[in-house]
């Protein structure tokens, strides 16, 4: 062993990582070619998905994915921001803070099947009652149930990232503001939040990435219907859930290939969200409050 060989070894490992990533893209593109050839661009906007007649349009699942994630964000953002602000700005006692942190960390690490089971036990009956109240078909499962559980799953991430962002605001800014006689609310909304907004927004985007790719809990709750969801109570499917429920039962080569195409679409969507979030994050950590 010498320095040169050591470097070669390290470079080899680094190359393997790069190749794994390149290989992922390559494999997904190559494997989805048969379906793409058969369907053409209609693979992206076709609204019919029927393995029996081998029609494969991904639109119902793209809509399902975006819809569940968007609803989950709408629910999770106000709750998580409040929780993050409380943990970052209002809780002064050490033990309360550590209890909250532990709770959030434990919940962030609960496997998604457990959330799925919890959703079946608790959320589905509630949504069924709600559907009866408003006169929608009382499936219980569906877009709303999946979105609710997704929201609960991303709340721990989002609130801990909001807290982090607020804790990273330089103490000097806050002290200066208090010294000028500002109230707590004015300091939080006028100084701390504007300073941390990029990091907070990045946290939201990273949580969105998780919601987009979440598979098991959604598969268990969304009802797995291959139609474009018409309302909150419709059954539906997301890109991830349709792969989970149909991949092993793929009836034909084209069917399997179409699912590879869905995986590719999902990968591209999450990569865009993640890349956008990281760009904001690195800017947010930069110079004093822009």
């Amino acid at each position: 062993m010498n320095d040169r060989r050591f470097n070669v070894l390290l470079s080899f490992a680094a190359l393997v990582i790069v190749f794994i990533f390149a290989g992922f893209l390559f494999t997904l593109v190559v494997q989805s070619l048969p379906a793409a050839k058969q369907e053409g661009a209609a693979f992206l906007y076709g609204s019919e998905w029927n393995p029996v007649t081998t029609r494969f349009g991904a639109l119902p699942f793209i809509i399902g994915t975006l819809m569940t994630s968007a609803i989950a964000l709408v629910i999770a953002i106000p709750l998580s921001l409040s929780a993050g602000i409380v943990m970052g700005e209002y809780v002064n006692s050490g033990w309360v803070r550590s209890v909250l942190n532990t709770l959030i960390n434990v919940l962030a690490s609960i496997p998604s099947v457990v959330f799925g089971l919890w959703g079946i036990e608790v959320v589905i009956p509630l949504v069924r009652k709600l559907a009866l109240l408003v006169g929608a078909p009382p499936y219980g499962a569906g877009i709303l149930s999946a979105s609710l559980v997704l929201a609960i799953m991303i709340i721990p991430y989002m609130s801990s990232m909001t807290r982090e962002a607020l804790v990273n605001v330089p103490a000097g800014l806050r002290e200066g503001a208090f010294a000028l006689g500002l109230t707590k609310q004015e300091v939080v909304t006028g100084i701390a939040l504007p300073f941390a907004k990029k990091s907070i927004f990045a946290g939201i985007l990273l949580s969105l990435g998780r919601a987009l790719g979440e598979t098991m809990a959604v598969t268990m709750l969304i009802g797995n219907a291959t139609r474009i969801p018409k309302s909150l109570f419709s059954l539906g499917n997301t890109l991830a859930s349709v792969i989970a429920s149909q991949f092993n039962e793929a009836a034909s080569e084209v069917h399997r290939s179409a699912m590879m195409g869905l995986a590719l679409i999902l990968l591209v969507i999450t990569m865009i969200a993640g890349w956008f979030g990281r760009t904001l994050m690195s800017k947010g950590m930069g110079a004093y409050g822009k």
Partner: protein, 240 residues
């Protein structure tokens, strides 16, 4: 105070302050209550089903009462073993690369790749490993599941190990180099041991993350209702 022109204004600001406090405390309270509720429900409802047989017996045929999840526990451990054997050396070497080439264009590019890998939905990992491992070997296996999980663990472990390497004071490395130790030995024998606790923590978190994964295993280790200790066999893991 009555004569103070600012008094009225201050009262309004004070009221706004209190309103804001309520406006954040109430939703935060809802979040905490909800999270506690979920934890309690899982622990209480799950606790009822737990007894010794549950851990040490095999699954009974559908419809028969009783039975346990020993095959799922064994499967979890086997898949994790494969994953760690792959992920630990590769993540350590890759983070050493990032450590040695800190600040360079290549290291930054690699870091971007690692971050992107971390964002890949685990179901996509499952689908790709199915093509890479299951199709050529013509069978689902604990081995294939382990490879899929190692890819789940890799990016997480790389970024965590890199952070703990970066926290080792540069003076350690400089002192070793000043004594004439070759650079690779200084890195391997001084910097890595100094970061050992961080590396261990990264491994622990990697395992925690991988243990709860379900999606990448449906298409790789598939599931097996019987106890098997053969890495080439289908294996059943606890969450699935």
């Amino acid at each position: 105070m009555e004569n103070n022109v600012f008094a009225g204004q201050y009262k309004g600001r004070k009221r706004k302050d209190i309103l804001f406090r309520v406006a954040v405390l109430v939703p935060a309270g809802i979040v905490v209550a909800l999270l506690f509720l979920i934890m309690a429900q899982v622990v209480v409802n799950g606790g009822k089903a737990l007894n010794l047989d549950f851990f040490f017996q095999q699954q009974k045929p559908f419809g028969e009462v009783g039975g346990g999840i020993v095959q799922a526990i064994a499967g979890t451990l086997m898949v994790l073993a494969v994953a760690i054997v792959i992920a630990l050396p590769f993540s350590l070497l890759t983070s050493l690369y990032l450590y040695e080439h800190k600040g360079s264009k290549r290291a930054e590019g690699l870091l971007n790749v690692v971050n992107t890998l971390q964002g890949i939905p685990s179901i996509v990992i499952g689908v790709v490993i199915y093509t890479w491992v299951v199709v050529p070997l013509r069978t689902f296996s604990a081995f294939a599941g382990g490879i899929a999980l190692s890819i789940v663990m890799l990016p997480l472990m790389i970024s965590m190990i890199k952070e703990s390497l970066d926290m080792v004071p540069v003076s350690y490395l400089e002192a070793a180099l000043a004594l004439g130790v070759p650079r690779w030995r200084a890195v391997v024998e001084i910097v890595v041991p100094a970061a050992a606790s961080g590396i261990l923590e990264a491994t622990g978190l990697g395992i925690a993350r991988a243990t709860g994964e379900t999606a990448p295993l449906i298409f790789t280790s598939f599931g097996n209702p019987f106890l098997s200790l053969n890495f080439g066999d289908l294996s059943r893991r606890s969450p699935w």
